[in-house]
């Protein structure tokens, strides 16, 4: 942030701090065009980028304000730690969304591309919904758009519904690896759950020794 603020050109994933530096010049929120198009993944990636940049800027400003109170660099840093963690979280979230979107570009099969696109969109919109405060605060999202996000998210759930089992099958975990009665490939859960329970060590005998040791003597006393 400091290098970008000083006009240095950054390289790598953080180079967005250069770009955002310009776009986040102070101007009234109402006059800034809102960037989120809830149906366009690229637009959502852009929104995550600007949110990250904004949170980095807010954390940096917090440090500066602390320094103006004549505290040491270390104390200024510690007094801004919550903002700093939020900024890192936003940076990572941006990277994950960006990589998901980039992965789609490698997928040739249309059926797979379609279902993964739906997943990517869901992931991005859910993140926006979870962190709507950030997006609203930076003017990247308007209140009416928030309800669009919610509606679109519900549509995506319904759209994914037919492919849910296929999508987990694609992970290709063999039953022996998953070792889960509930997650068996054949779905025959209840028979195997009963079978599993019957093998519990407690069931080695019909009457557990503790009955003779404690319960029966107790009954005799009462």
């Amino acid at each position: 942030y400091r290098q970008a603020s000083a006009g240095h050109q950054l390289s790598g994933i953080v180079s967005y701090l250069n770009e955002s530096e310009r776009r986040l010049q102070p101007q009234s929120v109402s006059s800034r065009p809102t960037v989120v198009n809830v149906n366009d993944l690229a637009s959502l990636v852009d929104a995550y980028k600007l949110r990250a940049a904004k949170l980095v800027e807010m954390a940096a400003k917090s440090i500066q304000q602390e320094l103006q109170k004549r505290v040491s660099q270390e104390d200024a840093w510690n007094n801004s730690a919550i903002d700093l963690v939020r900024a890192s979280d936003a940076h990572c979230h941006y990277v994950v969304v960006k990589l998901f979107a980039a992965k789609l570009g490698e997928i040739g099969d249309t059926g797979v591309h379609s279902v993964l696109s739906t997943l990517a969109l869901l992931y991005a919109l859910q993140g926006i919904q979870q962190h709507s405060g950030d997006f609203l605060q930076t003017g990247l999202l308007s209140v009416p758009q928030l309800s669009q996000v919610s509606q679109r998210l519900k549509d995506l759930l319904a759209q994914l519904r037919p492919n849910a089992v296929g999508l987990v099958d694609a992970f290709d975990y063999r039953d022996e690896m998953l070792n889960s009665v509930l997650g068996r490939y054949d779905g025959n859960v209840y028979e195997h759950m009963f079978e599993w329970a019957r093998r519990s060590p407690l069931n080695k005998t019909e009457v557990h020794e503790s009955y003779h040791k404690y319960l029966k003597p107790l009954q005799a006393k009462l």
Binding site: R2, G12, V97, V115, L116, N163, L167, D172, S180, G187
Partner: protein
Amino acid sequence: MNPDITRERENATFDVEKLTHILDGGIEKTKRRREIESLVISDPDFQSEDLNFLSRSERYDAAVKKSAHMILKLREYGISDPEEIYYYSLHMINTPLDLHLGMFLPTLLNQASPEQMETFFIPAWNLEIIGTYAQTEMGHGTHLRGLETTATYDPATQEFVMNSPTITSIKWWPGGLGKTSNHAIVLAQLHTQGKCHGLQAFIVPLRSMNTHIPLPGVVVGDIGPKFGFDEVDNGYLKLENVRIPRDHMLMKYAKVEADGTYVKPPSAKLTYGTMVFIRSMIVGEAGHALAKSCTIAIRYSSVRHQSEIRPGEPEPQIMDYQTQQYKLFPLLATAYAYKFVGQYMNQVYHRITGDISQGDFSELPELHALSAGLKAFTTWTASAGIEVCRMACGGHGYSRCSALPDIYVNFVPTCTYEGENTVMMLQTARFLIKS
């Protein structure tokens, strides 16, 4: 086959096999992974009583047996590619030899001088030397500069004297340290000629290679039951004036001459590469743990029928409830997202390893910052996500038969080991603010 789940599969609008190839990184990778998995699953020596029905000691015993068997089989099949070893080991939750394979051997490869490789590597490869990696201390974790264990050089005998000067300096947590290992690579503050030169790595014998009894001055044992990791003897290590020869300090980079003169390593950044590697692996693990949890919860949600949507109609599959979809589908999307990030980090790690060997460190700071942040970001979300999957299975999610409790208790340590997550986030923040 349950008719519900059969119908679900008939409804899919895409080719599941093709997506599996994408997740594996190609058809050949899928084929090879399945071959290796079949090798393990069909091997009777890997069958054991359901771990859920065993005591802790029995679980440890079963894990040692499987690890020993795995090492023999890896040699027999000539499997040496780290990725294939990973496929092979996926059937084990955690094993007491994990750190020997995952940390002790790689650290020798990265930091031992040629002479030290001669001395230590083959015995370690043949498990005469069973090693672990002892860094974390009872009172010190992520902040490495705070570690207290000392290694003081004695030029008269050309030995280092190892000590745990305080109770907080006792090594704590390393896997395999309690009962399994007979050596450890111990990270300690190097003192020579009256000056402290910071952390160095030392190979310290812990137990007799004949009787496995702890050596004089070595106080070692199991730290006791934990939330999970029942199969692993995470241990403690207290050193009381243990003397080791000068050539037991790993000297590929930093050195101590016979007279005690300290020679600095060419670059302080060398250990960053290993950190990036380990954290990249953890990012992949987050995708893996979440993917397993989603598989269990979503398959179960397709066969579980409960309550009603329209009065009088049969009980619907619980996956038809919007609330169930809202719990699980975003996590499914997250599992895919993290799997792809894991693939990306793996590719990046291999690229920068090439750069480093050319002496180009330029990308390392950014990748170090990114891997730290992503490790925290993905493990926090995945841990919470596994718990959501478990709860989405209702009461049955609470039974060990679901496997979800095991997945949770064995994944959640990723939030604290290899760097506590909040500290990781602040490392990323440091880079962001500097940038």
